[in-house]
């Protein structure tokens, strides 16, 4: 006698999402995208399926000129400082405003706390200087 296995919707979704995950891990992203689009149409109410469709969907880039991302027209001062000094802070998070080092700490939250205490008017630039650079 033949045995028929009926999967619940949840089990079907899990099975399909396992396939999506496997495709992503195998670097078959185009296949994963195609499958996730199919699944999103099939299960529009599943948050997990919609999540995968969203993260795999190729995004659109949009250029704006209305809101300056940084108040100044350039971050040349920060760049010069980093070139000259970043390697002196291995394993540290650095916060810079212009050519001024606002904070340096291995702990990201401690670095941010130091920045908050200064009550700075402009956004600072964060940079993480690794202890050693991997052979990239």
């Amino acid at each position: 006698m033949a045995t028929v296995t009926v999967l619940t919707h949840e089990a079907q979704i899990e099975q399909e999402l396992t396939r999506v995950r496997e495709l992503v891990e195998s670097h078959l992203v185009d296949d994963a995208r195609a499958l996730s689009r199919e699944l999103a149409a099939q299960w529009p109410d599943s948050p997990q399926v919609q999540h995968w469709a969203r993260v795999l969907e190729p995004p659109k880039a949009c250029v704006r000129r209305d809101q300056p991302a940084i108040p100044r027209a350039t971050w040349e001062a920060e760049r010069q400082w980093l070139r000259a000094n970043a390697s002196k802070y291995p394993g540290h998070w650095l916060a810079l405003l212009g050519d001024e080092l606002i904070a340096a700490d291995p702990d990201y939250e401690k670095m941010r706390e130091q920045v908050r205490r200064r009550k700075l008017p402009e956004p600072v630039v964060h940079f993480f200087q690794p202890k050693s650079w991997p052979s990239w």
């Binding site: 992503v24 997990q48 995004p59 949009c62 704006r64 971050w75």
Partner: protein
């Protein structure tokens, strides 16, 4: 042949210890909080990779029922999840624009490498060019697209 770009940003090259490989770093901003950080551009990286500290600052967490995926990288295999978060490339100079893109990030609590701008869900969807002479990274929308 003329290609048009809406913005450009000076990149950092050689801020690491002398003797190591040339790497291209760009100032960018992440999330709606616009956390400014310097990221490494790597066209050979499959995904953007977010430092766990920045993910924590942006309150990014995996969904409770989400199974991790494995990412093999130059630094080994890491387990994490994919997440969508805005990326802004910061334009410099008069008239220059800044670019916004809903990038897909691989987020792993164990990641020890730099903040990476990779191909999928990011570089594959923008026009860009590099001018080593002036250390400029030019960027713009892809032809026929406006976000």
């Amino acid at each position: 042949m003329t290609l048009a770009f809406e913005g450009r940003s000076n990149y950092l090259n050689g801020i690491d210890a002398p003797g190591s490989q040339p790497l291209l770093h760009l100032l960018c901003q992440l999330g709606e909080e616009r956390i400014s950080a310097v990221a490494m551009v790597d066209t050979g990286a499959e995904w953007c990779v977010m430092r766990p500290e920045i993910a924590a600052a942006l309150q990014i967490e995996a969904a409770v029922d989400e199974l991790p995926i494995a990412l093999s990288s130059r630094l080994g295999t890491y387990y994490g999840f994919l997440h969508r978060e805005p990326l802004y490339l910061v334009g410099e100079g008069e008239g220059g624009g800044h670019l916004r893109l809903e990038a897909t990030w691989f987020v792993s609590p164990e990641w020890q490498g730099p903040l990476v701008l990779g191909w999928r869900g990011c570089l594959e969807r923008m026009r860009f060019a590099i001018d080593p002479g002036g250390e400029w990274f030019y960027f713009g929308e892809m032809e026929g697209e406006h976000g």
